[in-house]
């Protein structure tokens, strides 16, 4: 058991809780840096997806998990970042300038959408962002001089200061760099007055207001910052996917991004990364299972002489091959997480950690949620 002994208030706002914590992160960093040396190229590529999704996760976590504003249209900002970057690159703008302009553009769009959002809450905000993303998607497909419309837009590999980041490993490090940057920036914002204001707004707008938090300013900052990070993710997304089409940035992608932060665990940056691992790795895992389940079940049935096991394996394999099954599996997991573990993967991780650190003394009631009776969000 480890007791963090508090000797000053500044301890609460440190970047890392203590030395032991920090050394764990150093170990993790070393592991992630060395990973491409041992992994095959395909898995390095998949891990790059994890990093890109993690940046989107951090972006949404700031907005949804920390400020309590729900956006059903964040794919639009991802698309704005991706298309702007691709457009600038196409016109010969250097990579760094292009990426910076794309991020700035996404931030500006975030501000513009954020302004009406100041007057809205809950479901109205969700539908307003949804409307915005539908309009933006239409813009992507109609503004052909910039986006090439429905025929799509090829994105070249990244070239920064004459160095090519086209290879899987090089791009892996590029994405890793930006993820660490995003996490570091966000973590620093969160432990500063800005972050505390966001959390106050999430927990109670009226209480925050009476503590002197300017709702309009902090909500706008949250929206703009989140949109800017999404734009950054879009820049990397554009290179990774290599071909942009308007039907990538649909509401389904927005929903997938929300799923990411929920499954990961709302209200923690760890959750954004956990969620990214889940969202990026589930499709390849399903693809692997699709082929390996029937084969392994057949092996088992041949070994044990039980034919039905082989048929069962075939049935699972066929089921997984049907179109749209992946979305259904995501849906089932989403439903189960919300019903059984509203704090997501990070919440489960915290519970496991506390179980071991307080070993014989663990109490389930520590995490018991208080049930409120008819907590109305309806006005009047």
């Amino acid at each position: 058991m480890r007791f963090p002994f508090k000797t000053s208030y500044e301890q609460d706002t440190r970047l890392f809780r203590d030395r032991i914590d920090a050394s764990w992160y150093v170990l993790l960093a070393a592991l992630v840096v060395l990973l491409p040396a041992v992994l095959p190229a395909y898995y390095v590529g998949e891990t790059t997806w994890v990093f890109i999704y993690a940046i989107t996760g951090v972006s949404l976590m700031v907005l949804v998990g920390y400020t309590g504003l729900v956006s059903l249209g964040h794919a639009a900002f991802l698309g704005i970042g991706a298309y702007a970057h691709a457009f600038f690159i196409e016109h010969g703008v250097p990579w760094v300038v292009s990426a910076a302009m794309a991020v700035t553009l996404a931030t500006a769009c975030g501000l513009v959408v954020g302004l009406p959002a100041l007057r809205m809450t809950g479901i109205y905000l969700a539908i307003a962002t949804l409307a915005f993303s539908v309009i933006i998607q239409e813009v992507f497909s109609r503004w052909e001089s910039v986006t090439h419309g429905l025929s799509g837009m090829a994105v070249p590999k990244a070239h920064i200061f004459g160095v090519s980041f086209g290879g899987e490993t090089a791009f892996y490090y590029l994405c890793l760099f930006f993820l660490v940057l995003a996490l570091w920036l966000t973590r620093n914002l969160l432990r500063a007055p800005t972050g505390r204001a966001w959390i106050a707004i999430r927990d109670s707008e009226i209480a925050a207001q009476s503590m002197g938090v300017n709702l309009a300013i902090y909500k706008s900052i949250a929206f703009a910052y989140s949109a800017g990070l999404m734009g950054l993710a879009g820049v990397l997304f554009a290179h990774k996917i290599a071909f942009l089409a308007p039907d990538i940035f649909t509401i389904l992608l927005s929903i997938q991004l929300l799923l990411l932060v929920i499954v990961g665990g709302l209200g923690s940056l760890h959750g954004a990364v956990f969620g990214a691992i889940f969202v990026a790795l589930l499709p390849p895992v399903i693809a692997i299972l699709r082929d390996s389940i029937p084969a392994s079940f057949h092996d088992f049935s041949a070994a044990s002489g039980l034919a039905p096991i082989g048929w069962f394996g075939d049935a699972i394999g066929n089921f997984l091959k049907k179109p749209g099954v992946e979305a259904g599996i995501f849906g089932v997991i989403l439903v189960l997480v919300i019903l059984l573990e509203p704090l997501g993967m990070y919440g489960r991780w915290v519970k496991i950690r506390i179980f071991f650190s307080t070993f014989p003394m663990y109490k389930r009631a520590t995490f018991k949620r208080q049930r409120s009776y008819m907590k109305t969000e309806r006005l009047r």
């Binding site: 007057r119 539908i127 307003a128 929920i262 749209g324 439903v335 919300i338 006005l379």
Partner: protein
Amino acid sequence: MTDRARPSYWHGEKAASDRPTGSRGRKLDIFLQLTLNGLAVGCIYGLVALGFVLIYKATELVNFAQGDLLMLGAFVCYMAVVWWGLDYWLSFLIAVLAVAAFGALLDAVLLRRVIGQPQFAVVMLTIGLGAVFRTFASVTWGSEIYTLPTPFGGVTRIAGVTISHQYLSIIVGTLILCSVLYGFFNHTRIGVAMQATSQNQLAAYYMGIPVKRIFSMIWAISAGVATAAGVLLAPVTLIDINMGLAVALKAFAAAVLGGFGSIPGALVGGIVIGLIELYAGATLPDGFKDTAPYIVLLVMLVVRPQGLFGTPGRKKV
């Protein structure tokens, strides 16, 4: 995702824009034609929005799976008509009852547990359920596009305006459904009990109203209304697993436009969205047909965030 991916299915608008627009009378005809079709489309949006609002008023849950319930309803009706060879009206009834029962079950098993959790969690839960329903439909019925045979094939011409019976059936069906619901909510014991529950849950408990059962019934009604909308819509848009999504998004806009929580607002909002969609499709350049409703919605939310029929107010601490 948007309707662009699907064939342009509100064919009224195409027929109207193909005609030469010479004389003044012609223009009026086209206008009437568009209005009629817009009304029909708007009725569907209104019905789905009505489902949103009913559930929201009673339980404060926002059901994003409403469109997928509509899709399930249309598929059940299709299955009854084409696979089992039943009569259209009987199939209609079967579909409504089956999906209504399913809605009640959904409430009893899943959604009752999340009441009191943040609204956002519930929205995501229903989005997840919607994805599950779509997968279920694609595994059970396949992901092709199906046509539902209906008794409303013909057209009537009145003073130059062609009235397709399919569109007419939607308008008439909506009128009947709305008057039935109106009568139910105002003149039956259960209906009044439902109103009481949605006004104050705790007081309703004290009055001896079985609140949980009332919630299940509201889910059943809302799912049944969605099914009715789906079956009425089926001949126009054809049936496929994504038919609900496009409708639900616009219906959602309709519900917000009308002020979430107002039943007449939902219907009016639906009709407004339907009319805007068709007028924009006929008069504005390509691409505005799908986005015009959302542009209007955004403007509306900026100017009057509580919707057309909503009441402004502040949350209490």
